[in-house]
Amino acid sequence: MIFRAEVVVARLAAAASRRTGSGGGTTLPGKLLLRLSPDAIGTLAAPLDRSTVVSATNGKTTTAKMAASVLESGGADLCRNHGGANLDSGIASALLTARAGQVGLFEVDEAALTGVCATLRPSTLVLGNLFRDQLDRYGELELIGDRWRSLVAGLAGDTVVAYNADDPLVAGVGVAAPKGFGFGIEDASVSRESMQHAADSKWCSRCGHRLGYDAVFLGHLGHWRCPNCGNARPAPAVVARAVRTIGLEASEFTLELPSGSAAVRLPVGGLYNVYNALAAAAIGHAHGIAAATVADGLGRFSAAFGRGERIDLDGRPALVLLIKNPAGANEVIRTLAAEPARKTLVVALNDRIADGRDVSWIWDVDFEELAPQVAQVVVTGTRAAEMGMRLKYAGLDAAAIRVEPALEAALDAGRAAGEGPLYLLPTYTAMLDLRRLLVDRGAVRPYWEAA
């Protein structure tokens, strides 16, 4: 019963963390527990009915939240991690409350995935996408791809791998699984005219030849094929057809599962969220949930903080859109630029460890697309001037750029500037700072209360 005692200690730490207001107890108790008992994840997960793990460079938190909505529509009682606490400590913390018969649903950092899967032994593994992200922390994209390949090769034979068929690197990993299926978009009308600059996996993972695309939806995601060796996008089992994006408000599409189809109205905009919804639908499918129930769950989803959540800033509507790497930021910009109005922005660039100390990635983001629509921008964060400079080279008049390194002052300056909604674009740690600030002002609820 030694393990019981360790769990009690960790649970007390979680309660203390919430009571003192220092955090939701989302990582600290797990960290403590894993130090006391390194195989805690496997032991705590044993009573769960089954577990699903979601990983990707972009969209983990949103996908997990959508999947939760889908699984709950299907009647599941969930045990899941919250608020981007997606390293082993976050999973262990979440598992402290695991009960028999619950279904596990965990978003896991792409670099931590191998370790978590080894102890958790998920019944379903969802591989969303791989984009260039924080080279100083994760290393090159190919290295993560290689790690995922070895992970899939070592999975138990009955693990179902659901993979993004439109991502050449991820599909290459996924098709090697003994059991699995792909998901993807089947609507060439939402294709981009050309590939974005930041597109990453442009070369065939088998032969190195440049890939050809019949449609490019986002970054390097699309209908790809290698003209040299015949390697091509595997036909997906879970698809979105007749996709219609309605600015920042919503997206509509027809969801097709092997078991049937249903119309989906997703209450968040952006094509990247259609991919997140497909990943969530794939989880629903793996759980045997019917298309209509999946569609119902997706329709009831509400955005996670920083992922398109709408807030009221003392009477001014504001929208928080996390930007953390070129591919994700480009989709945010593409979605914003689809709304033609002149805009007021607050862009917060931090260079803490969780953001990546190297801020060069902002030069791979197509701020040029948004610059003509920006009336005023307040730049803030530890690298505020760097962000201002980037926007100047993107074509914005230096007079429209205000540098305000302190976040609170920047938020007030943004609120007082221009008109219409205020768009807040923070990097990861800036988003956490922003959230704390908005909780203090009563504009949003603390993250451990907002499920």
């Binding site: 260039r132 080279l135 100083d136 090159e140 994209l141 190919e142 600059h197 442009k202 070369w203 190195g208 440049r210 260079d351 100390r357 190297d358 801020v359 060069s360 990635w361 902002i362 030069w363 791979d364 530890t382 690298r383 505020a384 001037a385 760097e386 201002g388 400079m389 980037r390 100047k392 080279y393 230096a398 750029i401 540098v403």
Partner: protein, 239 residues
């Protein structure tokens, strides 16, 4: 008068936001009414005529994909440099300026040998903010700031000068205090971030050199560099 940059392998060598360097050269020319053009050059394309050749860094895989093609155009680049053209090479591109790169498994990737330098993979990556002191023109001391992230340890041949002395950071190999290389009009460096936005003096040095090739000896008119210098100061303070 116009400035032409020959951008080598933009599809392969672009890992550290290399296009930021091109954007800075373009804007700083345009703001002064100087015509600016980029000639992109991929594998198999003829080497374009240019005042400055730019070679960025790539993922290991991408660098292997272009290595042979680059070797095949070494003679073209040597001729262009002999004719006064400059070369700016960053990270992986910098390593390819030398004799080659020896990896962890002893695998050898040959370089162009345009400059006498060699690179060997080290046991750890050197990652972090970096500050240098440079003196590209005698008596004109400048600070260069940025970010380095490399496993390669580069050693310069006898008599070959580094781009600058490391004030904070690792530089070429973490031992000899040098960073990068300056060999006539060839500049190589591990500093990205990207390199030029926060170091507008270096961008202007390259533009002025390109103009001189066309017999234009002008002093570049100063620009309002308030944001650039603020970003430079922040980077220098955290290195």
């Amino acid at each position: 008068m116009s400035v032409t940059v020959g951008h080598l392998y933009p599809e392969h060598l672009n890992i550290y936001a290399d296009r930021g360097n091109i954007a800075v050269l373009r804007r700083r020319c345009e703001w002064r009414g100087i015509e600016f053009a980029v000639a992109e050059c991929g594998p198999g394309d003829p080497t374009p005529k240019a005042d400055l050749y730019y070679l960025g860094g790539g993922q290991d895989r991408d660098q292997v994909l272009i290595a042979d093609d680059l070797l095949a155009r070494t003679a073209d680049l040597r001729t262009a440099v002999g004719d006064g053209a400059g070369v700016l090479a960053v990270c992986g591109g910098y390593q390819l300026l030398g004799h080659g790169y020896r990896g962890h498994q002893g695998d050898e990737m040959p370089g162009t040998g345009l400059v006498d330098l060699t690179t060997v993979a080290g046991p750890t990556r050197m990652i972090g903010n970096i500050t240098l002191r440079c003196e590209l023109d005698p008596g004109d001391q400048r600070t260069l700031v940025g970010f380095e992230n490399h496993a390669g340890r580069t050693t310069l041949g006898p008599g070959v000068q580094p781009l600058g002395r490391v004030v904070r950071g690792n530089g070429n190999n973490g031992d000899d205090g040098g960073e990068g290389v300056q060999h006539g009009m060839i500049i190589g460096t591990y500093v990205h971030g990207p390199l030029l936005p926060k170091n507008p003096w270096l961008a202007d040095w390259l533009i002025a050199a390109a103009l001189r090739r066309h017999g234009d000896e002008r002093e570049l008119e100063p620009l309002d560099d308030g944001l650039e210098l603020a970003a430079h100061r922040t980077a220098a303070a955290i290195a």
